[in-house]
Amino acid sequence: MPLTTSTSPHVRSPASVTEVMLQVLLALVPGIGIYIWFFGWGLVINIVIAACAALVAESAMLMIRKRPLRQYLGDCSALVTAVLLALALPPLSPWWITVIGVFFAIVVAKQLYGGLGFNPFNPAMVGYVVLLVSFPVQMTSWLPISTFSSYDMSFLEVAAFIFGGQLPPGLTFDALTEATPLDTLKNNLGQGNTVTEIRAQLGLDDVTSLLLSVIPIFGAIGGKGWEWVNAGFLLGGLWLIYRRIIGWHIPVAMLGSLALISGAFALYDPEHYASPMFHLFSGAVMLGAFFIATDPVTAAASAPGRLAYGAGIGILLYVIRVWGGYPDSIAFSVLLMNMVVPIIDDRFKPRVFGHGRK
């Protein structure tokens, strides 16, 4: 009777990397749904393009690196990178923008460093930053939310623009796009306007916002639609914490530090610094806090380290938003903190059982 010998433990929990990645994708669904509701079909097309490009790039690199294709493609990590990058792009980005971004994310930022688990920087954010510095015009052309748009583009019209650059007759790209609330805030503050004036200009007094503001923290805070998108990602993120796919440390530290620092400045001078609610619910904050900063591969390892890491992102986010050159800065904050991770890991170790308190 031949017996199999193995080392203990002989049982394993059913958790797998694939399952972790699929749960992350699932948790993105509410945010993505709300996003599509407000900004149209562009995101769906971007996600499909990004996913295909990611699978192709990942397969090619795995073949070159002679890694088992099925095992590593099956982990679904490339899909997560693709979807996160697609979410960071403006919904009307031309297809080649998405493909270039994904290529950089998968080939350069991930596989050239050794593939899953070995990349020091968040691949999706590397892809995004490469695009942002290379194609600033395309990367900052955002659509207004559909209810305020002068023209509601159909799925086919969006597809025609993304793939062929064809706009519906009589429309210009500039007429379609609009600065994001963060952009508007930054530019107008630069021109000497006060927060109150800018809020009025952002259309925060119109009917929709009034309806939205029935729930006190929503509506009239982050800018049209954005607070709902952020709420969607917040919901997905809380579910991930509930399912223990991610820990609470990074999101809480990041959102907490952002709220604290923005709150302090808003108290000091409310006419020149937006409220913490505006900062928490605009741009990609919730997506960043729950889905990007929490990427385990590139985040700090220990629980106290993760608190420091998250807090660092929150502070950098505010600093770059308010005094830096970019209106939203999740990508830069995350990448900058990625660089600090080895130091954080070295400095923040949990107290081991039976060791005296230091």
Binding site: L3, S8, P9
Partner: protein
């Protein structure tokens, strides 16, 4: 009043599989054809045989005595003939053989004379410990530490709490559960004795809340005892680990490299307590224990009272045999037990469970994926280590860094490996790293010794050289003195010669004047041998 409980970091909830082996009462065992008794069934030095091949022995007769302070004697587990003493395969992760005493039972199972203690309270703690030592009792929870040492508080005079460990947190294992259900009185007897030996103030009996029957049974058994409490603790692996249990019950953390004694606690398995009871009240040494025979491959899983030395396949056969293919045979539980390479290995004192697992019980090892640093391992670690960092350092053989991250605080409970979504065999890496470090330490010791030897040789050589040099110097100065004297003579000679040659020249001059020539002569003084010529020899 509900007792306050503390918690430790991490822990996991693996599937229990305990119900399968608790349907039947503890089963008696048929005598096997052969009993194989390894001399090393405990932590410490192996026992030394005191019988010879061919000798007749009775049940409970001493066949090997303890060979050191940390050691335990071995007794014949049934009456019969010693058929051999020599190497035989034993249950050990290495799969190697070790010295064993083999007994062929005569079927009578006749006891040697048993000498129960009439009134143990009259005995001094040291005398009690001695009896427990002579009975060969070791910790029956799985580690096998000789019990009498634990019962000796030494300079830690006051033991506040005696903890009876009935937690049994490993999946599949139910031997302690059944023991508590059926033989609570024996455990009670053991508690009284151990408490007397330790003079412990209070006694806590910890039972996980997945064993309500055992809880009730123990509570009834200890009713009326002074300051004895049965404590229900939440089910969490690895709560049965001594230091974790001490933390849960007392809130105290046993310091690293420390013992429970350091915080005034002694922790004893319930099975050990029952064995102590038998040793004192019945005069029976440890010749049998309760073993859980379970797994889907076993026809009728149950707990059996098993004679030490019984081959495991014999036990499975007595549980209606293997009804399915045994994929893995594990001694102990699925979390910390080890897989055996053959089925006929003997039950030893630390065998709490024989798990004959099918492929479905213990699914095959899945392909290992890269670590995604998800931190699930760190969340599960009961010692609050960072297993993923330890993994990197162990894998890259950065052993200093691994030690800096407290590798040696790892209790190898396997919780990290259990939760890892990448299926990385973390514990295995840690064991390797520990082994590497031990090897390195040994190498270092060896090289230190070699260095010391080399240095002392070097010193000796230098000393000898210095002595030679001194001698040479002496000789040299003597020679020099001689040479100087010689040189003086030579100078004198040269002067003489000069004088002579001057005289000669004068004579020549005179001869010349007389019209005849003489050949002249040139000469120098004899030089002493040069220094470096000698040195090069």
């Amino acid at each position: 009043m509900k007792r306050r409980l503390w918690s430790f970091h991490g822990g996991i909830h693996p599937a229990q599989h305990k119900v399968v082996s608790t349907h039947l009462p503890i089963q008696p065992q048929r005598l096997p054809q052969r009993l194989v008794l390894p001399l090393h069934q405990h932590i410490g030095e192996p026992a030394e045989p005191v019988v010879k091949a061919g000798e007749r022995v009775l049940k409970g007769q001493l066949i090997a005595h303890a060979s050191g302070y940390v050691s335990a004697p071995v007794h014949a587990s049934s009456s019969g003939v010693v058929t051999g003493i020599g190497e035989a395969p034993i249950p050990h992760p290495s799969g190697l053989s070790a010295p064993c005493i083999v007994i062929e039972p005569d079927g009578e199972d006749r006891w040697a004379e048993r000498l129960p203690v009439e009134n143990y309270r009259e005995l001094a703690p040291s005398a009690l410990r001695n009896i427990i030592r002579e009975a060969g009792i070791v910790g029956l929870g799985g580690a096998g530490f000789p019990s009498y040492i634990k019962l000796n508080p030494g300079h830690h005079k006051s033991i506040k709490t005696l903890i009876l460990n009935g937690v049994e947190c490993e999946p599949f294992i139910t031997c302690d559960d059944m023991l508590m259900r059926e033989r609570a009185a024996e455990i009670r007897g053991g508690i009284e004795i151990i408490r007397h030996a330790l003079q412990a103030e209070e006694c806590l009996i910890a039972i996980e809340d997945n064993k309500p029957a055992a809880f009730e049974s123990m509570r009834t058994a200890v009713a009326g005892m002074d300051r004895v409490e049965v404590v229900r603790v939440p089910t969490l692996y690895p709560q049965g680990s001594e230091k974790q249990l001490v933390r849960v019950l007392t809130g105290k953390e046993v310091p690293r490299d420390g013992l429970c004694l350091n915080v005034g606690v002694v922790c004893v398995n319930v099975g050990t307590a029952a064995a102590v009871h038998r040793a004192i009240h019945l005069g029976e040494p440890l010749v049998s224990r309760i073993v859980t025979v379970t797994g889907s491959a076993v026809g009728r899983p149950c707990n059996m009272e098993v004679l030490i030395g019984t081959p495991m396949n014999e036990l499975i056969a007595q549980c209606e045999g293997a009804v399915e293919r045994i994929e893995r045979l594990i001694m102990g539980g699925p979390m910390m037990g080890f897989a055996l390479h053959r089925p006929d290995l003997p039950v030893i004192k630390t065998t709490n469970c024989v798990l004959a697992a099918t492929a479905a019980d213990l699914p095959p090892v899945r392909p290992v994926m890269p670590c995604i640093r998800c931190g699930a391992c760190a969340d599960a670690c009961p010692v609050n280590l960072l297993p993923q960092q330890l993994y990197w350092y162990s894998k890259t053989k950065d052993l200093d860094k691994a030690q800096e991250y407290d590798l040696f605080d790892c209790i190898e409970c396997g919780a990290c490996s259990y939760v890892c979504p990448s299926n990385i065999p973390l514990v295995q890496y840690f064991r390797y790293a520990k082994g590497d470090i031990w090897t390195r330490e040994r190498e270092k010791e060896k090289s230190d010794l070699a260095r010391q030897r080399h240095e002392s040789r070097q010193k000796r050589l230098e000393r000898e050289k210095a002595e030679r040099e001194a001698k040479r110097q002496q000789k040299k100065s003597a020679l020099d003195a001689a040479a100087t004297a010689e040189r003086g003579q030579a100078q004198a000679a040269a002067a003489m010669q000069q004088a002579e040659s001057r005289r000669d020249a004068a004579l020549q001059e005179a001869e010349k004047r007389r019209g005849e020539g003489w050949p002249g002569r040139k000469d120098g003084a004899d030089a002493p041998p040069r220094e470096n010529d000698r040195e090069s020899n």
